[in-house]
Amino acid sequence: MTNALECRAVSKSFAGVRAVEDVSFAVRDGSLCALIGPNGAGKTTLFNMATNLFPPSSGDVLFFGRSAAGRSPHQIAADGVIRTFQTARVFPGMTTLENVLAGAHLHVRAGPLSQMLWARTAREEERRLTAKADALLEMVGLRDARDRATADLPIGAQKLVEVVRALMAGPKLLLLDEPAAGLNDRETAELAALLRAICDAGTTILVVEHNMTLVMGVADQVFVLDAGRLIASGSPEAIQDDRAVIEAYLGREQGPEQRPMS
C-alpha cells in the first residue's frame, strides 16, 4: 500500500516559536483522514508546509513517495495534490462557473494561440470542461449560482464552490483546510456525505478540521496535533477515548487551565 502523503519528522519554527515539532504520519492512498487539534496546534502550518507555501525547517514531506522539497506550489498541484484554504479563496471577479472552470487549469490542453484562433480542439475542450463543471455544480446543488458572481454567494456556498473547484482539477490527493468552518449542521452533514462520496470514487482526502461531528462521522483515520506535536493517531473511536486527546482539548482534570473544545 503506497502513501498519498507522508510527513517525516517535519518541524517548523517561526522566529524561535516552534509551530510544528518533529511530526511524522502517513495518509494511506485511498483513505479519508482528518487532522485535528485545538487552536494554534499547528494544523494550518503543517498544511502550508506540505504544499510548500514555505519550506519546513527540517524533515521531509512526500507525496506518493516523491519529496516535495524544492517544488513550487503549482508543481505540487500538477502532481495531483490540490488544496483549499481556511478562508474560502474563491476568485471574486468571476462567476461560479468560471471559478469552477479555473480548477480545470491543469487539464486545458489547448495553448493560448489555438484558443485565440478559435481552433476546433480548443472549443471542443471548452465545451467538455463546461459540461463537467455543470455536472459537478448540479451534484452539489449549486446550479442556480452558475452565472452569479461567486463573491456574492453566502459563505457556505463559497466554501462548497472552492471544494468543487478543487475537484475539477481531478486531484489524486485533496487537502481541505477547515471546509466546515462557518457551515451550519445541515450543511456540515451534506459536506460529510460529499467527502465520503469523493473518497469512495478514488480520491484520497486529508481534511484539517475543528468540527468533531464532521471528523468522527466520516474519517477512516484521525491524527491529533497539540502544541506542534502529534499526540495521537488512530480510528475515530480510539481517538475519542484517548487520554492525551481529551486532556489536550479539555485540559487536565483539576488543572488550572481550561481549554474549551472548539
Binding site: 504544499t51 507555501l53 513550487s72 506550489p73 503549482h74 498541484a77 500538477a78 490540490i82 488544496r83 483549499t84 484554504f85 479563496r89 474563491v90 476568485f91 471574486p92 471577479g93 468571476m94 468560471e98 472552470l101 479555473a102 480548477g103 480545470a104 487549469h105 491543469l106 486545458v108 489547448a110 495553448g111 493560448p112 484558443q115 485565440m116 484562433l117 478559435w118 480548443a122 472549443r123 475542450e125 471548452e126 470542461l129 446550479r143 442556480d144 449560482a145 452558475r146 452565472d147 452569479r148 463573491a151 456556498a157 473547484r165 478543487a166 482539477a169
Partner: protein, 630 residues
C-alpha cells in the same frame, strides 16, 4: 580636483531636491502603502505659488514662501480628501497607484493651463553672486536649500519620534488594522501624511526654483527622479531617501559632465535597474515589516462587466458595421485621420487590457514598447530600405525580446516594484530615443518614414490606413476574445484575483504573467510601427511616459477587462482635441481628471456602464433570465 568638487557640489544641490521628493514618497508610503506618483507635482505647485506671490503680487520673500507652501498644503488637503484617501481606502493597491499617476497628469495639465509651455525661473533668495571659497563657487541658494532641507528632515524626525501624532502615524505604518482598533483615525492619518509630503515637496520647489528653470512638465521630472532616488535608497526609509537622492544627484551631474547631458537620465535609470536587481528592497531596509495582508483583504474588488452571448455578438456586428460605413458619410475635415489614430492607439490599449484588465499587472511604461516598435520599424524602413511589413514584424520580435528581458530582470520584484520597474523601462527607452541621436534623430525626431505597404498595396491615404487599422483591430479583438473566454483568460483572471489560490490549482503564475506581458508588448509594438508609418514621423514625445499614462486613461475610461472598452476610451480622448479646438491646452488636465474620477466614481468604465445597462434591459425580459437566486 576643484572641477571634481564643483561637480559634486552641483550634484548635491540637485540631489537635495530629489531627496526632498523622495522623503515625501517614503512618508506617504509608510502610512498608506501606496507610492504616490503625484508627489513631484507639488514641487512645481509650490514654485508656481512662489512665482505669483513674489513676482506678480510683489510680496517679500519670506511671506511669499510661507504663503506658497501653505497654499500648496491646503490644496493637497482638499485633493487628498476627495481623491487619494478614498482611493487608498477603497481600491486595490495597484489601482491606487494608477490613480496617483492620474493625479500627476492632472497637476501637470493644470500647470500647462496656468503657465503655458514657457520655462519659468525665480530670483535667488540672496542675490545671484555666489560665495567663493578657495576657488570653489558656492551658490547662496544652495546653502538655503541645504539648511532648510536639513531643518525639515529634523522636524519630520522629531514629529514622528517625539509626538503623539507621530506615534499614531507610525502605528498606521506598522499595522493599520490594529491602529484603527486602537482608535486612530486611519483616513485622517493618510490625509495628513499626504498633505505633509505635499508641504515638504512644495518647500523643495520654492527652494529649487531659483536654481533650475521649471516648466509645466517638471512635476513629472521631479516624481521620476524622486522615485528613482527612493527606490535606490529603499522605499519607506527616510535615511535611504536622503542618501538615494544625493547619490542620484551626484551621479547625474557626473554623467552630464563626462558623457552627455542627453544620457544623464539613461545612466540614472541603469543605476536604478542595477540596484533593483541586486537589492530589490533598496540600499536601506525600509522600516518595520508591514502587515499589508490584513488590509488588502478588506478592499472591494473592481467589478468586471462583460456582455455575454447574443448581446455581445449583436453589439460587435453593429459596431463593426457602423465603423466600416463611417468613411462614406460626409465627415468634417481631419476626422478620418483622427479616427485612424484612435484605432492605432486602441491596438496598444488592447494589449494593455490583457496585461492590466485581465492579468492585473500594472504597466506604467507601456509606451516604451510602442517606442521600440515604432523606432525599430522606422529605422529599418528608412535607413535600410526594408519593406514596412518585414520591418514591423522584426520590430515586434524585438519588442517581445525586450519584454522577456524586462520580465527576467524583474523576476525578483513584487507588487509596486514591478509596476515601477515598467515605469523605469519606459523612461529608459524614452531617454535612449533622445540620446541615440544618430539612430533616432534625437529630440527632434525621425522624419521621412515611408507609408505602410503590404501585399502590393500602399496604405498612403487616411482612408486606406483607416481600413487597415480597422481590419487589424477587428481581427485582434476576435482573437483575444477567444483567448480570454477560454482557459488562458481564466488563468489570467485567477492570477489577478488571487495568486496563491491560482498557484494551488496548478497555474504557473510567473509564466502566465510573462505571456501576458509579451502579448501586450507585441500589440504595443504593432501600434507603434503603424503610428510611425501613418505619420511618416516619430519623436520621443509621441512615445513618452505621458503616452503611457494616456493609454492607461483610455483603458480605464473605456472599461478594464472588456477588450472592446479601450476603443471607446481611445476614441473619446483622441477625438476631443480634434472636435473642440480650444480643448487642446486642457487635454492633459482632463485626461488626468478622467483617470481619477472614473476610478473613484465609475470603475467599470464607459463600456462597462453600457454593458450593465444592456444586461438590465435583457433581465427585464423574463425569457432571458438564467436563474433565480437560491
Amino acid at each position: 580636483m576643484s572641477g571634481l568638487v564643483q561637480i559634486v557640489i552641483g550634484g548635491l544641490l540637485q540631489g537635495g531636491v530629489f531627496a526632498i521628493v523622495a522623503l515625501g514618497f517614503s512618508l506617504v508610503y509608510r502610512v498608506t502603502n501606496v507610492v504616490n506618483l503625484s508627489q513631484g507635482a507639488f514641487c512645481v505647485l509650490g514654485a508656481m505659488g512662489m512665482y505669483y506671490f513674489q513676482l506678480e503680487f510683489g510680496w517679500p520673500i519670506l511671506p511669499a514662501a510661507i504663503a506658497a507652501v501653505a497654499a500648496s498644503a491646503v490644496f493637497a488637503l482638499v485633493v487628498g480628501a476627495v481623491t487619494f484617501v478614498p482611493a487608498v481606502s477603497r481600491l486595490p493597491a495597484s489601482s491606487a497607484l494608477v490613480l496617483t499617476a492620474g493625479l500627476l497628469t492632472f497637476f501637470v495639465g493644470v500647470t500647462l493651463v496656468v503657465w503655458g509651455n514657457q520655462p519659468y525661473s525665480l530670483p535667488p533668495f540672496s542675490g545671484e553672486a555666489p560665495i567663493v571659497i578657495g576657488g570653489l563657487r558656492l551658490p547662496t541658494q544652495g546653502l538655503w536649500l541645504a539648511a532648510i532641507a536639513a531643518a525639515m528632515i529634523a522636524g519630520l524626525w522629531l514629529l514622528l519620534q517625539r509626538t503623539t501624532l507621530g506615534r499614531a502615524l507610525r502605528a498606521c505604518a506598522e499595522n493599520p488594522v490594529a491602529a484603527r482598533l486602537m482608535g486612530i483615525d486611519l483616513p485622517r492619518m493618510m490625509l495628513l501624511s499626504f498633505a505633509l509630503a505635499a508641504l515638504i515637496g512644495a518647500a523643495g520647489g520654492v527652494l529649487v526654483a531659483p536654481i533650475m528653470s521649471l516648466q509645466f512638465d517638471s512635476g513629472q521630472f521631479f516624481t521620476i527622479s524622486g522615485f528613482i532616488a527612493v527606490a535606490i535608497g529603499g522605499m519607506g526609509s527616510f535615511a535611504g531617501s536622503i542618501v538615494g537622492g544625493l547619490l542620484l544627484g551626484i551621479a547625474e551631474q557626473f554623467a552630464a559632465f563626462y558623457v552627455s547631458s542627453l544620457f544623464a537620465n539613461t545612466l540614472a535609470l541603469l543605476l536604478l535597474l542595477i540596484v533593483l536587481i541586486l537589492r530589490p528592497s533598496g540600499l536601506f531596509a525600509s522600516g518595520p515589516a508591514r502587515r499589508s495582508d490584513v488590509r488588502d483583504d478588506a478592499r472591494i474588488h473592481r467589478p468586471v462587466v462583460r456582455l455575454r452571448g447574443r448581446a455581445a455578438i449583436g453589439f460587435a456586428v453593429a459596431l463593426v458595421a457602423v465603423l466600416a460605413l463611417l468613411p462614406f458619410l460626409p465627415l468634417p475635415g481631419g476626422l478620418l485621420a483622427s479616427l485612424v489614430i484612435a484605432l492605432i492607439l486602441f491596438i496598444a490599449v488592447l494589449g494593455l487590457d490583457v496585461l492590466m484588465g485581465y492579468a492585473g499587472q500594472v504597466s506604467l511604461g507601456h509606451a516604451g514598447f510602442m517606442a521600440v516598435g515604432g523606432y525599430a520599424a522606422a529605422i529599418l524602413a528608412t535607413s535600410y530600405d526594408w519593406p514596412p511589413l518585414a520591418a514591423t514584424l522584426v520590430a515586434l520580435v524585438l519588442s517581445v525580446a525586450c519584454a522577456l528581458v524586462l520580465a527576467a530582470a524583474t523576476r525578483q520584484l513584487r507588487g509596486h516594484y514591478l509596476a515601477l520597474a515598467t515605469l523605469a523601462f519606459g523612461l529608459l527607452i524614452d531617454s535612449l530615443a533622445v540620446g541615440l541621436f544618430d539612430l533616432t534623430g534625437g529630440p527632434s525626431g525621425l522624419v521621412g518614414i515611408p507609408a505602410f505597404t503590404a501585399a502590393g498595396l500602399a496604405f498612403d491615404t487616411p482612408l486606406r490606413m483607416y481600413y487597415l487599422a480597422l481590419a487589424l483591430a477587428v481581427v485582434l479583438v476576435v482573437m483575444l476574445e477567444g483567448g480570454m473566454r477560454m482557459g488562458f483568460g481564466r488563468a489570467l483572471k485567477a492570477v489577478r484575483s488571487d495568486q496563491l489560490a491560482a498557484a494551488a490549482l496548478g497555474v504557473n503564475v510567473g509564466r502566465v504573467k510573462v505571456v501576458a506581458l509579451c502579448i501586450s508588448a507585441a500589440l504595443a509594438s504593432l501600434s507603434g510601427s503603424l503610428y510611425a508609418f501613418n505619420f511618416h514621423f516619430l519623436s520621443p514625445e509621441i512615445v513618452s511616459t505621458s503616452r503611457s499614462f494616456e493609454m492607461i486613461a483610455m483603458l480605464v475610461l473605456g472599461g478594464e477587462g472588456t477588450l472592446i472598452g479601450g476603443f471607446f476610451g481611445s476614441l473619446v480622448l483622441t477625438l476631443l482635441p480634434t472636435l473642440v479646438q480650444d480643448f487642446a491646452v486642457f487635454k492633459t488636465a482632463v485626461e488626468g481628471a478622467i483617470l481619477v474620477v472614473i476610478f473613484l466614481a465609475m470603475p467599470e468604465g464607459l463600456f462597462g456602464r453600457l454593458a450593465i445597462w444592456l444586461e438590465h434591459s435583457a433581465l427585464r425580459m423574463p425569457r432571458l433570465r438564467t436563474g433565480v437566486a437560491p
